[in-house]
Symmetry: C2
Subunit: 407 residues, 2 copies
């Protein structure tokens, strides 16, 4: 089986039409033309292709209002499934969604830590297979796997361009390797980008809105959606908000930059700071093992909610820096909404939200043009995994994947 990545911006019309049919069940082709801005000919072709691929079916005709009755369309939810995976050193999640984007199964998995890529991917393949079995899904009904992980990446080739968590991952053809082990087609994408588009799909934001997603698992990433389309940039390595400079006099970061947001606000930095404070480790029962970072964050968060002043101060410090970065993101991308997504916001988002909102209210450059709303992801810890599954649904690969997935 060959690796089957697409070029960055090809799936545009297909993605728009799928989004509209998902968001507006029983929509007609004429309404699709009106709401998409695409031509009638494009809608006709894309809808025919989606029907041929079994993703969409016709479900009857609308009442005539004087004109010709219109055929109505809806997603063919049971026609197949896609798998979404989020994985970084510290955390992981696998979901199965049907063609309407409904969640059919989910499981949280531990991040691979510093395991070798091969060991980590074999374990991941077994975990995917186990979830399919538990969910009663036959693998011949699976179109493919959307694998959402950290950047930078060469998305077209499906390879990683980061030496995280160990140098063995740098240059790894991760999509092709998992394909080989699992026997299902795999698409690679950035975890925060996936979370951003997943939020759109699950209805956490309005259609055609312009918003940013700040994604916090073990690290911090970002994704931007403008008028319903993912912002990709020149090489699909955009919105690396965890690595913008918050203090030029700050510490060097493994990314090559200095004083990065991750070093002020990321879960690793929160836990590192907690371990340096007298008595906090013992009082909050922190593990201190770097691979337990997200678990330790949960302990700090619980203590903060319970009134522990040190824990509260640790979370608030991170949240203020998150807020400063959110303002920079808004000032650069001119956004209407900031969504906080991923495992770490699923844990501590309620404490972050008011602090980030206060920064957005007071400091955004264009606040006289429009307000900026902060909100928590509708998908919680699974945001990137759901997004990975959605990216497969929206890709032009679906028919190709279907052929590959056929027995």
């Amino acid at each position: 089986m060959t690796n089957t990545q697409t070029a960055p911006n090809r799936p545009r019309a297909r993605g728009i039409v799928l989004d509209l049919i998902r968001a507006t069940p029983l929509i007609s082709r004429v309404e699709l033309v009106g709401r998409s801005g695409l031509t009638g000919a494009t809608i006709t072709n894309v809808v025919r292709e989606l029907i041929d691929d079994g993703l969409v079916h016709e479900v009857g005709r609308s009442e005539s209002r004087g004109g010709k009755p219109r055929t109505l369309l809806e997603l063919n939810a049971g026609a197949g499934y896609t798998v979404g995976v989020q994985l970084d050193r510290f955390s992981g999640s696998i979901v199965i969604v049907d063609l309407a984007g409904h969640l059919i199964g989910r499981t949280a998995i531990k991040g691979p830590g510093v395991a070798s890529p091969h060991v980590a991917l074999v374990r991941l393949a077994r975990q995917i297979e186990a979830l399919l079995t538990d969910s009663d899904i036959d693998r011949s009904d699976v179109f493919g796997v959307g694998l959402a992980t950290l950047g930078p990446q060469d998305r077209a080739l499906g390879t990683l361009l980061s030496p995280q968590p160990t140098p063995l991952w740098l240059g790894l053809p991760m999509a092709a390797e998992l394909e080989k082990i699992l026997g299902l087609p795999v698409l690679l994408d950035n975890d925060a980008t996936a979370a951003a588009i997943g939020e759109y799909w699950v209805g956490g934001v309005e259609l055609n809105s312009s918003y940013g997603c700040i994604y916090m698992a073990g690290g911090i990433g970002g994704g931007v959606v403008i008028d319903g389309e993912v912002y990709r940039g020149g090489s699909s390595n955009a919105v690396e908000i965890g690595h913008i400079t918050m203090d030029a006099a700050g510490l060097p970061c493994s990314c090559g930059n200095r004083g990065c947001l991750e070093d002020f606000a990321g879960p690793t930095s929160i836990v590192t700071r907690a371990l340096q404070w007298d008595g906090v480790r013992e009082r909050l029962n922190l593990s201190g093992d770097i691979d337990d970072t997200v678990l330790d964050l949960a302990l700090i968060n619980r203590a903060a909610i319970g009134g522990d002043p040190d824990a509260r101060s640790l979370i608030e410090y991170s949240a203020r820096y998150l807020g400063y970065a959110a303002v920079s993101l808004v000032n650069l991308f001119d956004l209407e909404r900031i969504v906080l997504a991923g495992p770490s916001f699923a844990i501590a988002g309620a404490l972050y939200l008011p602090i980030v909102q206060a920064e957005l209210d007071g400091a955004c450059f264009a606040r006289r043009a429009h307000p900026v709303i902060a909100s928590l992801s509708a998908s919680g810890a699974d945001a990137a995994a759901v997004g990975g599954a959605v990216l497969v649904l929206r890709s032009e690969l679906t028919p190709l994947l279907r052929r590959h997935a056929a027995p």
Copy 2:
């Protein structure tokens, strides 16, 4: 005369076709289809409209290579003119370009300082009229004026949303006011956005490339172009790079944020710092009047080039912060190039360029995916004014403006 602003993203096909014809003289419709990604029908319609509007003409047929000979197209350079204006508190520039984008006339003007908007706009109208007279251009041949100034703005309404330089400018319907005084249609846009698209037009960057423009006049702004299209964001107030936080513990900025890039790297901050250093004011003969900021920057720059260590240190401090911000811009927008544009880089860009390039080389997140090149604008101090003129050329307003401009 009514104000005639367009919706943000309407001129897309027309702009793409004009760019291609400008960049490729003697291009055929078939080549336009191949290079634009637009359909044959769209190309046929857009080209017919451009010919009807007098912007493009047919200039003969290509040699037949077996097939039907192809009619060749080129811009009708002499069919009319547009005026571009850049204006902020500290600096200004007026240019006249023909339809091929050739520079026909230019003049540098002083910024309005804290003059009232009405006084400033009456003076600006006289300066525009004087340049038209000096350049032998009849106002009936002028399509319109592209007015590039600071943000935030309500671009659709042509109004300013900033209390800079005085609160009287906040809410000013600047495009409509200048239209009324001048008797020519006026389009309002952000100065840095204009500079970014102007750079594309004058050939300073490759067609379809993804780059950011950092624009420095009295303040610092930014513009991003992705695959040849301006990034607009949700409300056309994007890429305000002068107001991203470089140090969360920094001073409050008039924008509402803290520790903004402008406060570390902007011309005002360079001059303010110079005035605080012992003997620098006298030695470099600085005015110290805030409205002479750009002139004082020129004196500091000249001294730096001449070997004055204080002057060099002042410029280098600013350049390093510019470099940090350029890295953040690249990490967020995933760009291949950073163009330094505007009056202040026209003065001191040669000192900034190597420092910014060194930061880009060492600190960009996706440097393993592709290099990032820094370069100086091909338009020097006139970058935003040239961009303003180009924005009028690319807008769908051109035929409408032409009717308005007719006697």
